[in-house]
């Protein structure tokens, strides 16, 4: 179907094929998941989409993506706007104890059955009082006290109260939001977006799927465990096994429970690479639902790129933004070590430098300190296609990644890669354990922040041209076999088609 046809269809279609549920990204935050959503919609022009974008509250952010023709509607669900004015009068509705039990179960254990129960209890409650009013009523006060007694009797009630408001405010927003109609619901994370997808699955009987780029629960867990803004109301010292429950535990447990609910309720749980399935399994995702659909790139962009000549200046390159998470300082240190063995070395840092000016200045200071002016060169933002033909080895020193496209791009250009063991780097460079036939290593994987390991690995490829060429070819073959955008789009096309044709009904695994 042509784009014009899709546009004509978009104007007439009322119920989209797919409702994407996204949290904190598209269409306002560029890159990463937003770019992937844009790619997905443009890659499937015959499929109509709507989007529910979850945000804390309305903001003045401007859309960073032109909507494709097959995007029918973008709706917003605000998580921190629930409950308007206090309700000072009104009897406490019957069944508040049951609601308290169900909510406690949903926020501590999760699961499709717990979500169903909460939806049922709230449905009964709505006959007496709207959810919006309930949240600010004496009934809510009774509810919070009941849940406090159940969950955190040691902790500070004042802190619990506000955490409860934030936690359940988000939950109630999701449960009260008018569910948009669609043939398939597709959430891009667990959390509140995952809960909305779970609710859609239970309420509409239509299939729901999840594609996790990073593991949302783990990201929140890391964030919460390190956060200074979460008050520690109980002094546990450095004990790791203190059973007393505190706010930090409450938040972490709630996100885990929401993830469990999403994993249990959705029909398919997809990730970008195999390593990400482990935390999903730990949170109870059914093995039968798990699958991997890796992101891909357009290989045709790289067909004309020639390999860097053996007698050219030995060149390594890091392609990425100059920001701390890319650990550019380790790259500079690796270049310093490598230069001791390869004096002619050139080390490019290819990417924008203005995102963290202070960090960029620190990197430049290190370059100056070690007298590496002629070796380490910051190119700023450039067209990487102009540079790939001169690079012998690509390097990635990131502390955290999901599925970095730069590894695929290097592979498409036949350049071997040395990367830290983050995200799917190992899977792309060394291949999955079930790869048949095995294509060989496309480079080397090192520990994080290990400049000496990176330098050693680069030295091998710079000194041994045959090894470099064979690694580059192995990576090129692997990318062509498993990481093309055509392949990824095809997988989603088939999945959507299969799910959209399923009859409406309950998911036997969901517990609803």
């Amino acid at each position: 179907m042509s784009l014009n046809a899709a546009a004509r269809r978009a104007k007439t279609v009322v119920q989209p094929d797919v409702c994407l549920i996204v949290e904190g990204c598209y269409p306002y935050v560029p890159g990463g998941v937003s770019a992937w959503i844009d790619w997905l919609m443009r890659s499937l022009p015959e499929t109509s989409f709507s989007i529910v974008a979850l945000w804390p509250r309305p903001s003045a952010m401007k859309s960073r993506y032109a909507p494709p023709d097959n995007l029918i509607k973008v709706e917003h669900l605000y998580l921190q706007q629930f409950g308007s004015a206090p309700v000072t009068r009104g009897a406490v509705p019957l069944g508040i104890e049951h609601l308290s039990e169900s909510l406690t179960r949903l926020t501590t254990q999760g699961g499709g059955r717990a979500l169903s129960e909460v939806m049922q209890e709230l449905g009964l409650m709505r006959r007496a009082i709207s959810l919006d009013q309930l949240f600010n009523s004496p009934a809510a006060w009774q509810l919070v006290q009941e849940m406090y007694r159940r969950e955190m009797p040691y902790g500070s009630f004042l802190h619990y109260f506000w955490a409860w408001r934030a936690l359940l405010g988000g939950l109630f927003s999701v449960l009260e939001y008018p569910l948009p109609k669609a043939k398939v619901y597709h959430t891009i994370s667990t959390g509140y977006a995952g809960l909305l997808a779970a609710r859609a699955r239970l309420e509409s009987g239509r299939p729901a799927i999840l594609t996790e780029h990073g593991i949302y629960t783990n990201e929140r867990r890391i964030e919460l465990l390190m956060a200074d803004w979460v008050a520690d109301t109980i002094d546990k010292g450095h004990a790791l096994d203190d059973p007393r429950f505190d706010l930090r535990d409450m938040w972490v447990r709630a996100f885990e429970a929401y993830a469990r609910t999403c994993y249990e309720t959705t029909d398919n749980v997809i990730t970008l690479y195999g390593d990400n399935q482990q935390p999903q399994r730990l949170l109870g995702a059914d093995e039968k639902k798990l699958s991997v659909i890796a992101n891909g790139i357009d290989l045709t962009r790289f067909t004309n790129i020639k390999q860097a000549p053996d007698n050219g200046r030995p060149t390594i390159a890091l392609i990425g933004r100059v920001v701390p998470i890319k650990d550019v300082k380790t790259f500079i240190e690796a270049a310093r070590l490598l230069k001791l063995k390869v004096p002619e070395l050139r080390a490019w840092v290819v990417g924008p430098t203005d995102e963290d000016a202070a960090y960029h200045a620190e990197c430049r200071a290190i370059v100056a300190e070690h007298g590496l002016h002629d070796t380490v060169i910051f190119t700023g933002p450039v067209n990487i296609l102009d540079y790939l033909g001169q690079i012998h080895v690509m390097v990635l020193t990131s502390l955290s990644e999901s599925q970095p496209l730069v590894v695929l791009e290097a592979g498409a250009a036949g350049i071997p890669f040395v990367a830290t063991d983050v995200g799917s780097c190992r899977e792309i460079i060394e291949g999955r354990s079930d790869e048949t036939p095995y294509l060989g290593a496309g480079g080397a994987v090192t520990h994080l922040a290990a400049a000496n390991e990176i330098a050693d690995a680069c030295e091998v490829f710079l000194m041994d041209h045959d090894k470099r060429r064979s690694a580059g070819e192995a990576l090129r073959s692997r990318v062509a076999a498993s990481y093309t955008s055509t392949r990824a789009a095809g997988a989603y096309r088939r999945l959507y088609a299969d799910l959209a044709n399923r009859p409406t009904g309950s998911n036997p695994d969901a517990g609803g």
């Binding site: 390190m226 450095h238 390593d275 300190e369």
Partner: protein, 326 residues
Amino acid sequence: MSVAATNNGGAILSRWATRDVYGALFANVGEAIVALQSSAASIPAIWILAGHLAVVASVATILFNARPKGEDLTIAATMVLIILVAGPVGAVASLVMLPFVKTTNPGSPVLRAWYKRLSSAGSVGPATAMHDRVAAGRVLRLEAAPPASFLDVIKAGTLDERQTALGLMARKFHPDYAPALEAALRSPEPVVRVQAAAVVARVRGDLKERIKSLVSAEGHVGSPRPAARLADAGELYRLARCTLVEGTDRAASEAGARALLSGMLTTSHTIVNASAQPDPDTALAIEGYLLAEGRYKHFRVARRVNSIVTRGGYGIRLLKKSGAQW
């Protein structure tokens, strides 16, 4: 509140109370004139009503005009309503009630303190706070087993323990945790590696800021207390050896520690005083500095003093046995 009271209970009439009195007096005079007019002359009832309303409006103007924002208007509003409804009788009543209101109204600072206490935002004494925490069961459990070594936890703990330990390392970082953090970066478990990387990124930033603040404090004229300067030198020395601190920061830290000590360790007397404290990092910083400066005699003095301080009588016996003199 129309009558302000001081915090110690000595109520005084403020200018707002004076305004209330003027308002009440004006109401009495005005309503008396209206009442007299209504009985003495053949004035239409509508004009009598208009006169009454004019008095009420004037009283309202006196009472409400230019009140500060947030002022309690309860008394003023009550007066206006009484006069509006009861006319001359209301005017007399508003005058009579003022002395009672004056003695019973708490002042706004008193109210503020009360609200603060109600909302738990008020500060309580340390003893009360401690009592509250003990009673609620929120204090550190002294009977609990000592915390496990973070390095052991990272190597052999459960996933949950490893993640909790990494969270603690991020929030309460100490340079001694660096080996545990480095082990976590090499963990075969991707989840642990990712979290360790996030902790490293945060800790590096925190350490950079800490070094910056310690080094800039070192340059201040009018030095802080010697004990604080020594503690700073010890911390800088410790940070200079932390593997998570980047090269340039390590050098800055080392130089900062040296600069702090060079201004203090000028004589044997100051060296004895400085060495007589138990923090091992500060002791090492002092010894390292003296060695680097080639002041070997002072170095020996520092070691012996520190040995006595840290080992007590045993240290003195050792010194006597060795026949050392200083």
